[in-house]
Symmetry: none
Subunit: 236 residues, 2 copies
Amino acid sequence: MKQPGIVLINTSHPGNIGATARAMKNMGLGKLCLVEPKHYPSAEATARASGADNLLAGANCFATLEDAVAECELVIGASARGRTLPLPMLDPRSCAELVQQQPDIERVAILFGRERTGLTNDELDRCHYLVQIPTDPDYPSLNIAAAVQVIAYELRIAAGAVEKPDEAEVEYASMTQMEQFYTHLQHTLVALEFLDPDNPRQLMRRLRRLFNRARPDQNEINILRGILTAANRKTR
Amino acid sequence: MKQPGIVLINTSHPGNIGATARAMKNMGLGKLCLVEPKHYPSAEATARASGADNLLAGANCFATLEDAVAECELVIGASARGRTLPLPMLDPRSCAELVQQQPDIERVAILFGRERTGLTNDELDRCHYLVQIPTDPDYPSLNIAAAVQVIAYELRIAAGAVEKPDEAEVEYASMTQMEQFYTHLQHTLVALEFLDPDNPRQLMRRLRRLFNRARPDQNEINILRGILTAANRKTR
């Protein structure tokens, strides 16, 4: 089974990391990434992983989310609530189908944020979509491993059920290429005096959402950077 | 939401009872029955229940399964593996649909057995159906609370209690606004000497495809046009 990475960000309780590993392995997933876990490795994680300690041993640890998703093409954030700046929302089933339709599932990451506070705005800015598990609105916050269990369950079902549409192969820009584009865009907007570095407001966040939604391919990102280079030349 | 009872039989770890209560409450279920729990009540159960301790306080405890299901009309056992004596098998989705079709959902029970050994033959003999969560065959045994989470999630969806994920209302740009943007973009690219009007190639088509895919909202299209105006100013 081709599979996405499951990325846990800044997890406080090592038991949740272990339970996540178990939930993943039950559903045939193996690629666990940890960004800045509070306590890790940990005996509690291993105990809760039950027989899935090989996933813990093989987990990749990263200092930043940027590093964790550098090679990814599609990033989906799990969120318990709607957000003020809108991102396209998926339910777990359509999320799993979308993942299954990707040309390269290995380059998909699904993010799970902190136990209490979820994902930060900066982390959301790196997401193409949010996935929201339907819950009782009065008690919406799932345990992280429980949320991973539901998503992984839908991924397993979708992997058996969904054929890929024959579509022209798309080579999406990687997250690293997107970051390089955003840096270039920001410099250009400052040079154009459109962005005031002392009062940036929400401008870059809004532009990130717009371009993440479009998911540019390699060729498109080259065109956009060509435009930025041409605009920069005029500001000299 | 009309709901079945969730029956945990002879659970060893009180943490699993607490995590089950949380999983249930997240999905809007409230009827927890405990048959001969090893340790209960327990501080560990309460801790893992997080905000679902009202379910623990309201749980019914029974000395035998017979007592627990005395008033039920339909009993479904969760099972990690096929059994020698065949019972009709359901997957979680068809299980949830079956439950939903019952004339009196309050008289349905779903049984979850012991952590290591599941349900005994005597307990299976009281079941009308088994429900099996699809897993990796090499690692099929889910944590009890994780299994309850998956079943409860499907129950919630089948109950139709599912609203669309809350998404902020989007006011998309109209086609007229998009055309005005593309005209503005084209003029700007000519002014930046990025687009040669005598040899435009496919440039505008490619950019149209990119921005149409993103479906900008009103606010985003205003930002994009603001950037174009700033770039034009520098070319004078």
